[in-house]
Amino acid sequence: MYGESGASMRQELAGLLRTERVSQRLGGPGRHPSSFRTTDDERASLGLLIRGYRQSVLVWCLEAATAADPYVETSIARAEPNPFKRADRDLSPLPALQTALERATRSSTAVLPNLEQLTTRSDVPLVEAWRQAARAAVMAERDLDGSEVGQLGQGQLTLRQAQTLVADVSAICQALIVLDRRYGRASSRLAVDT
């Protein structure tokens, strides 16, 4: 059910946002909150795995944003195009979100996790939290295909359901952006330290 998968995704992302000192949680150098150590190569492969899990969540965001309003059209008259602004800046919020998600998903080089990676429990809590979020995203994605009665297929949502879905997508996107920025800062700090 979407309610359960959506709640699970939110819960895991909230947990990830609470996590500080990401590199050390993957067994990197520094004072250790965790009891294990990893080599650079091991941390690199854990990073790749996390990128794949993140991509699963991103793909769900795109599909949910599309399902919420598959034929987005606005009745508001468009302003005259401004040659100094990019064309996508003229879009209303939902199509702008869809466009941004489509671009982010397409331009990412991360590989989606396979079934084994999605179902195998990780010993590293940080990776495990990402796995749970990706697993919930894949489950939630199934609810969006609309092949069964009661699912949230494209064009089958009531206005209220669509609004709830868009609110979920925007909160989850926001969480991904915050995590991206934190991980980016953590890796540049690490680069300075070494």
């Binding site: 939110r10 819960q11 992302l13 909230a14 946002l17 609470r18 909160a171 926001q174 969480a175 915050v178």
Partner: protein, 99 residues
């Protein structure tokens, strides 16, 4: 909304508004206000009054109080992801405030 929740929310709004008032730059003030708007949005625009009397402390102490006040909203059933997102906004605002 229970009276305790309303009190906790009033506290959060008070600290965020005070941080915005004391911010060193317009950008930082605007960032604190964005966090305040996010809190109001989570509560469906239920906006208990800001109490200006209890905030005669420095920015660091205000930030600490604001952080723990936002965290305390979890006890009143506010979604944990929303709380973490507000905390992230608060931390970004503090960063742009020269801290």
């Amino acid at each position: 909304m229970t009276p305790a929740h309303e009190l906790a929310l009033a506290e959060v709004r008070t600290y965020l508004a005070a941080l915005a008032d004391q911010a060193a730059t317009t950008k930082a003030a605007s960032s604190y206000e964005h966090a305040l708007l996010a809190v109001d949005n989570v509560h469906g625009d239920i906006t208990p009054a800001v109490d200006r009397a209890c905030v005669q402390v420095g920015a660091s102490a205000l930030f600490e109080r604001a952080t723990s006040a936002v965290e305390s909203l979890a006890v009143h059933g506010v979604d944990e992801l929303q709380i973490e997102l507000v905390l992230a906004m608060l931390s970004d605002a503090r960063g742009s405030d020269g801290a």
